[in-house]
Subunit: 463 residues, 2 copies
């Protein structure tokens, strides 16, 4: 008999039907008259109640089915008499695939996330992480669907690269040199390295993405990105996933429209497709989660020039608001707490901040005619701060080269990038979204290590 | 006025409508009475013909629009009088965004793929590579859609890892140690490395994928994978993308059904969604392409035990067929030419080869009761050879441990993997598909370096 997934069994009203379900016991309660096994197969956060007549099954076998054990159940789908579910299965036959010894690390409820992180391979079997990773999947699907429906092409930029995307960010080196031999020989000979030169893991696919956009019209990347920053915080990962769309012929207003439409689409997708998981997280993790998600899709995002934003922050300080990081006035780089103040306290809705000082932003961003500010369009979100960093790109070869020289960057490293401005240059714009930041926002989770299956952080590369 | 994409303009029959199109000149023909500019914006392989009355535009400006130049055109959509297109645009106004100097590397037609590889950032603007990368996008979308529709969760396995997925395959080391300092100090101190130990780039996400499948029920990975093999061939990349689904409670027959259904879905998606690009490639690259694609979706795949396959190959040798690599009989590992013989000459349809000798396959594959063969299910394709490698996984803790010891692998390295068999073990199965092999098959391209935007191969990490 073909297996029925728990998610489908729970939706069925085909009472009296014989079905086979397979999964893991989340709990097992025994009484003289009847045993209840809560069966979960990962297809949904909900368990299917399996009702067992203990007289019909081998007593020792039945007893051995403890939390975490994997079983198959053949039985009849019946209307449930109990609370909390509409259907249950009356077992006729139980097959044990794998028992679960009582040192199973996920046995107890209410363990800390820190504890569970040590068992990242087992935490996947808990309610919380099941919910988080089903939502993570759904966000990835929403992203691909959005861009596909809007005529963007998925474009795979390289992970190993000899260039440094922004001249910023600590990088991991990639090598096939034998380090013990390097130590022994007392010299590094990159001509013997795999690529014949020093190579690193990419910190961003944007520059290569621009090569795609200025040929295919509109592309998006969605892949892993790396930063070797020694930051042990709930907001940093050494390996994380980025989404970086890049669009030819797009101006600043169109870019802001895209950012807002895109992120609302993703959040709406979660509300439309992940409500069971969201309700669980709203109950267990963050009681404001659903309200926040609903509010984001409903509100029009404020479009706020940086200069105005600084004035608001300065006024807040005058009015007695205490920031941990000082508001030093025009030219300062905003901290997450400043961004959150604007979003959560001043406007009470998401903000797209525009026209930052050029000096605090990357070399490729298009300058405004004032010569001081650039056409940036960062989206600031409640709880997260900056969730999207975007800008129009400088399309003038001369201006871009000028900026590269001004910043003492190496022109030859960027020759291929400059070529897009040399040959048939076009106005274009794009943005970057840290996937895990989106997942933090949509799940209400607090620590970025809990929204990626196997987090990479300083001193931690387990599994 | 809002920009119309070329793909949409070409479908429109809204004659007389004023539109704005933007893109790159693929060619520019001039005569006294009229100029024709073939405009392409990457949204389709087809160009939109822009008709210009030279008396209405600045003569110098018009002349400056050479192949590769980027322009915007405001004009009227009209029914075309010429052959090969149904609509064209009569220009009223032309804006030049970026001229294209005549050292533009993609100016000439008919350049070799080898030449174009040196300009991987510019080759994206050619017909062939536009077609290849639009198809690549579509295959990614088909893959996500297939798995999402079938209840699989997209699962991001780590790229940086301290483990070696199969004990096979040369790996790239990832480090933040300063190699010059290592050389100077004459020793390697991994306690000072970012992760506090030696780490590598993953060669496969499968083992971590199994952790996902035995919790969420069914997952798939789709991400970059790395091999530091010094292979300079048209079939090897140091960085490539893999798709690795893994499914709890799946047996060998169900796995073969999944493999066949999945890959047919992808090929059918290309036929349904990429016909313009496929027709171009069928004409320019491989005249058998469309026939091959149609045949794959139509034919039932042969399901062939390895032992039978060897007999067929031995018979072929007896009948005078010459193989470059000798057919040495049962126990041999098949070479691509052997696989292609079975598919292209013997059966003339795709083959799923099963039940390989355990010894030539990985440690995690489930053995048959004969103790000699394992439940493998590799899909062999015309032109490609092995396109999918799959198997049922060994779910018995004891048998898996036994195999790890027999192969002199380090048990402690796999403790987390063994845990899936220790706690609530379940039967499961999965397969791996090299994304670029699928793209080679679907596009008819010959060299794997031409189906990924920026190939990484020995001595080559440009862009």
């Amino acid at each position: 008999m073909k297996r029925t997934k728990v998610v489908d069994a729970l939706k069925s009203t085909d009472y009296g039907k014989e079905i086979v379900v397979k999964g893991w016991a989340r709990s097992h309660r025994s009484s003289k008259a009847v045993d209840f096994i809560a069966l979960n197969d990962g297809s949904t956060i909900k368990n299917l109640q399996v009702v067992v007549d203990p007289s019909a099954v081998d007593a020792e076998e039945l007893k051995s089915i403890t939390t975490g054990a994997c079983i198959g159940v053949e039985g009849t789908l019946v209307e449930s008499q109990g609370k909390g579910q509409t259907v249950e299965v009356q077992a006729k036959k139980i097959v044990i695939y794998g028992l679960c010894p009582n040192d199973y690390p996920m046995q107890k409820k209410g363990q800390s996330f820190e504890y569970m992180r040590q068992f990242a391979h087992m935490r996947l079997r808990t309610n919380t992480f099941g919910a988080v990773f089903r939502i993570r999947h759904n966000m990835a699907i929403a992203i691909h669907k959005y861009f596909h429906d809007h005529g963007f092409y998925y474009f795979n930029t390289p992970l190993i690269t000899a260039s440094d995307a922004e001249g910023a960010g600590e990088m991991f080196q990639v090598t096939t040199l034998d380090l013990d031999r390097v130590a022994k020989e007392g010299q590094v000979d990159y001509s013997k390295d795999f690529f014949g030169k020093k190579t690193n893991l990419t910190v961003s696919g944007q520059l290569e993405g621009e090569l795609g956009a200025t040929a295919l019209g509109a592309i998006y990347t969605f892949g892993p990105t790396f930063r070797a920053e020694n930051s042990n915080t709930p907001r940093h990962l050494a390996e994380f996933w980025m989404i970086e769309p890049e669009i030819a012929f797009m101006d600043k207003d169109e870019l802001m429209d895209l950012e807002e439409d895109f992120i609302k689409y993703c959040v709406q997708w979660a509300l439309d497709n992940c409500m069971d998981d969201l309700e669980f997280l709203n109950k267990m993790i963050d009681k404001t989660l659903l309200d926040t998600l609903h509010s984001v899709v409903k509100e029009s995002f404020v479009r706020l020039p940086y200069t105005e934003g600084i004035k608001i922050l300065e006024q807040a300080v005058k009015d007695g608001h205490k920031f941990e990081n000082p508001v030093t006035g025009w030219g300062m780089d905003l901290n997450s707490e400043h961004e959150r103040y604007l979003v959560e306290q001043h406007f009470k809705k998401p903000v797209i901040m525009t026209d930052y000082p050029s000096e605090i932003k990357a070399f490729y961003m298009k300058k405004n005619p004032d010569g001081k500010t650039m056409q940036g369009t960062d989206v600031l979100f409640p709880r997260i701060g900056e969730i999207i960093g975007g800008s129009v790109r400088e399309e003038s070869y001369e201006k871009l080269l000028d900026e590269i020289e001004k910043r003492h960057m190496k022109e030859s490293t960027y020759s291929w990038y400059l070529d897009t401005r040399k040959y048939g240059s076009c106005p274009h714009a794009g943005f970057g979204l840290g996937f895990e930041r989106l997942i933090l926002f949509v799940t209400g989770m607090q620590n970025i290590r809990d929204v990626i299956p196997f987090p990479r952080t300083p001193k931690n590369a387990e599994f």
